[in-house]
Amino acid sequence: MYVEMRHVNKTFDGFHASRDVSFAIKKGHMAALLGPSGSGKTTILRMIAGLDQPDSGDILIDEVRVNDLRASKRGIGFVFQNYALFRYMTVADNIAFGLEVQKKSKAEIKARVEELLELISMKELGKRYPHQLSGGQRQRVAFARALAPRPQILLLDEPFAAIDAKVRQELRTWLKEMIGRVGITSIFVTHDQEEAMEIADRIILINQGKVEQIGTPAEICSCPETEFAADFIDARRFEALMSMK
């Protein structure tokens, strides 16, 4: 197992954000943390990244316990919900930032930035600033910036929440294809079941800080294990989605 959580608990000021959370994700898989808003999905993601510390329990990456490892040493790329692009840097500088911090050579940084700009098909836009981009373009830049230092794991917090409903579908397909091409283990948070079913290999269903069910989209739909799972997942919508494919 590549990313693993074992009996993780977390409270904020008495609010129980994670209750005995355990799950594991295989290398190269794309997992979705699915649940209603306020269910503690983002907290789990932030704990894997090292932005928040669990109160108890273990987090493992590649069989190594990383609880005490600093966020920057975990080999993680993070795409924030509103992308958190550095607004005073150009697109190219945004992508280069992680490499500059690692003190990579100028030539190497330049090559990597160009490679990534090519990957996200924004070769011409390297000199633009984030505020000159559309929502979809910003997401692509955030994606490229997270990938630049060649992380082992990619974490995405509600990657489509800030995107216009019209282009969301297009971007979903794009992101799935990109992640497939890069072949990186990734976890993304969403409250949209359609989104989770369409792009994830595995769904981890979260409610009130607890893991309700783990499985493939088909498993979760066809045999919900808890009352919440049965309630939350709209099987008819899933069937419609599957028949569309």
Partner: protein, 295 residues
């Protein structure tokens, strides 16, 4: 790339973007009630002339009443120069200390969540709500001979009250919130996502501040520094109480004006005042440049 700025009602924001004057009511499509508008403009203009422009003219004309030579003489007077030096020194100290403090405090309060945040923010505002005279008195009661730290300071040969350190302390106290007040809303609105993203990529605290935080707050910081400078230079109450009015030693420009005036050196008093006026105008110009750059 000199683009001519489009002047629309939407974009016509006066001020620094934080306490700015924005559109409140849609302007009427067809010109309707001009009388009301001009009446209000007239009233405002009249008020400003009465309260601001006339006094300034009085200051300048009185300063030059006895001719240019008297004016220059009053300004180049030994005590005036000393007062000017002390004012500049105290202002510099206050600006440096409060800038550092302001950056730290607003960083702390906008990027970290902890119990007592609100209380701390309120405490920083105390100098705004407290009368400067009381502030001066507080320092005397703390650091003076009869004050509760008096014995300790005396035995260590440190003199604060009725000495330059007291003047500087009082100035710092009175101008404490300015930089913080300007920075805090800007930092707060920035959130901490960008900083987290940078930290996640392994950037250290200083790199994050230099590359992410600073570009965002730079104009607000400048603006805070300018306000702080203006206030520090003009501070009278607190400094007056704590300075002990030792001529040539603990007298700042505003105090010097008062002394001259009380001794019936009216022309000299106005001449020295005009120095403060000139400094104020310079600050006003700097302020407007910063405001303009910020947009």
């Amino acid at each position: 790339m000199a683009k001519k700025k489009e002047r629309t009602y939407e974009k016509d924001v006066i001020g620094d973007g934080i306490h700015s004057i924005r559109k409140v009511i849609e302007p009427p499509k067809e010109p309707s009630n001009h009388r009301m508008k001009y009446a209000l403009i007239g009233m405002s203009a009249l008020f400003l002339i009465l309260m601001l422009v006339l006094p300034l003219i009085v200051v300048i004309s009185n300063a030059l009443r006895d001719g240019w030579n008297t004016y220059v003489g009053a300004i180049l007077d030994e005590y005036t120069i000393k007062a000017l030096k002390l004012t500049v020194a105290a202002t510099l100290c206050a600006v440096v200390v409060n800038t550092i403090f302001g950056i730290f405090a607003s960083y702390l309060l906008s990027k970290f969540y902890f119990r007592g945040r609100q209380l701390l923010a309120t405490l920083i505002d105390i100098p705004f709500s407290i009368s400067p005279v009381i502030a001066g008195l507080l320092f005397i009661l703390t650091f003076g001979n009869v004050g509760w730290m008096g014995e300790f300071l005396k035995s260590n040969g440190i003199k604060i009250v009725f000495a330059v350190p007291g003047v500087i302390l009082a100035t710092i106290f009175v101008t404490l919130p300015f930089v913080f007040r300007e920075l805090f809303p800007v930092m707060n609105s920035q959130g901490k996502d960008e900083e987290e993203a940078a930290a996640l990529m392994g950037a250290g605290g200083f790199t994050i501040f230099r590359k992410i935080t600073f570009p965002h707050i730079k104009w607000a910081l400048m603006y805070g520094v300018i306000l702080c400078t203006a206030r520090a230079m003009g501070e009278f109450g607190a400094v007056s109480v704590i300075s002990g009015h030792l001529r040539g030693k603990t007298i700042t420009l505003p105090l010097h004006v008062e002394i001259l005036y009380n001794e019936f050196h009216t022309t000299a008093a106005f001449a020295v005042s005009s120095l403060l006026v000139i400094l104020a105008v310079l600050i006003l110009i700097a302020r407007n440049i910063v405001e303009w750059k910020r947009k």
